[in-house]
Point group: none
Chain length 193, copies 4
């Protein structure tokens, strides 16, 4: 297959992702039909099925892409700074994620509470940087007796908790807005570490 065809395929796929993302976030998943997606993507209906199995296939892959993107950005930024304590490093990392979603409410709504370390591990083949998150944690716990497993579980728990609180506070405004929840969330994470 020629490179041109290859890149053309990539363009088509991207246009489906973009169109679907915009429709899912604005109209909701249940109210978005495949015909809406292809219309918005400017492709034929049949073409959709050459790239995706169905609507939920696109959705799953979008969530994976988007949440990976956020975490990768967060880890990259965190790595570029230096911190006195591991705790500060983790809080910076979490803060980045929080600030990101404060700007991207629609994306958060789509990801719902699926921002999870577990989801990302599956995608780790595509997004190598995801591993970096784990490495950060491993270094942080280097001098402790915690097992690899326990470290990973702690990481999982922190990300899950963050995702859950983000959704509640930013989307549902429960129990309070995100800026009011931040101190208690940070406090909790500090305690966990």
């Amino acid at each position: 297959m020629s490179t041109k065809v290859e890149s053309n395929k990539r363009i088509k796929e991207e246009s489906i992702y973009d169109a679907a993302y915009n429709l899912f976030t604005t109209k909701g998943i249940n109210n978005t039909a495949i015909s809406d997606i292809v219309k918005s993507a400017g492709i034929g209906k049949g073409t959709f099925y050459l790239y995706f199995k169905n609507k939920y296939d696109v959705l799953d892959r979008i969530i994976l892409r988007k949440s990976s993107e956020v975490l990768c950005q967060a880890i990259e930024k965190t790595k570029s700074k230096s911190f006195d304590k591991f705790e500060d490093q983790v809080l910076y990392f979490i803060d980045y994620i929080i600030e990101y979603f404060k700007e991207e409410r629609l994306m958060l709504k789509l990801i719902h509470k699926n921002l999870s370390w577990g989801v990302l591990k599956k995608a780790s083949s595509d997004y190598d940087e995801v591993h970096e998150i784990y490495k950060m944690f491993e270094s942080g716990y280097a001098n402790t007796s915690l097992s690899r497993d326990d470290i990973e579980k702690t990481l999982f728990l922190i990300i899950d908790l963050t995702g859950s609180i983000l959704y509640s506070s930013i989307i549902l405004r429960e129990p309070d807005e995100i800026d009011k929840m931040k101190p208690i969330l940070f406090d909790t994470i500090s305690k966990i570490i």
Copy 2:
């Protein structure tokens, strides 16, 4: 309106709840049609719309009912015991919820990650016992300087975290099965308190 008519209406509504719950948990929400629900409930199709706006209206109310039920049971059981420390009381409360959902995977799947203190507060008018949960926390923090708000946020955070971890571990088996996650979850909650 006569009491007979009133009670008849209640029976109809209940039969819809039951039928919908069974279908949602076994076939999934997207695969359950309203015609399935009414067939299973043994009522006419139009009757459904007398009580609910649509499928998602039933779903929302079911989640509310079911999660309230679980938390109410948990608090009732907890209140019936005596504990040396507040921490033990909270862990018993949480443990009850965990054990409950270990048996009720389908319900957990339906509630997804919507087990939340915030969702329940809205229903508190219907389920007075929900208030008891808050009272338990208030007594536990009686001698501290924590404000009402902070207590409630902590409660919120613990329930949200529990719900999130429950779903991940029991439904997705990520990052590990629930019994392996329990110690770290309990440890975390202890630290939070």
Copy 3:
């Protein structure tokens, strides 16, 4: 039957007429359900069927009532004035109708092009004043050789034409607005007479 019951029935019937008229004119006939009407009328659903056969039964009777009302008002007003020529009298009569519907666009929309002498004749038992219209014409043609039948046909034709032009110009704004159509309509009626 006691008078009180009688008047109560009349009130119910009137409330149905009013509710239906308002809904028909604002939402359209096809978009108005009987349940809308009874809700708006503040009566029970079953009650509707004690007074009317169905939606179109109400509609027919409303059109009859309303168009009779307009024509009766017009003839009454015309009779209260004196005119030099029969022609002036007829034009005044028609002008009254035109001015009336300029203010009552919604009613005109409902009556559509059913403003007709034929429709009214059927209702003449209920609205004696309708006969007055014919009498006016009969006097106007007193000294001519026109037969009763021809007079009635002319009357019919003038009212039909007026109704048709009113609807076109006021509702559809075709071929021009009503004030631009008036001169040519008056001119035509003068010629007819």
Copy 4:
């Protein structure tokens, strides 16, 4: 798009028009379901919505087509003859329309009183022959001082009046059958001209 596909689309659209026309005229519009139309047209239900928005969309377009057709036939026939006077020409034109609808009662019932010059003007892009009607009138009034606008209004008025009288006399038999109304209608039109 290939010509074959294009022509196939045209066939589909035509089959919907035909099926809908037959059902509307025989069963009535309110008693005709879209499922009836597609069954009769021999197409899939979804196909209907590819071509029309809903039942009333078909109806509107049918009225336009059919009334255009009649007027076009009338003008064509009129043009093929020669007349001494403009008046005779117009009366021949109107007579053709009358005789047409005497044979086609069902179509008249469908068109109701919507036979109107205004309706046709909108469709004039599709049916160029409609312009011919106006031209006939323009020539007829060539030597008078009437403005373009006044000519068009007169034309409008005559067609509207004819349509209205046709419906009343043929469908409602009010105030008399069409053959009895013809003389007075012709007389009126002569006066108008």
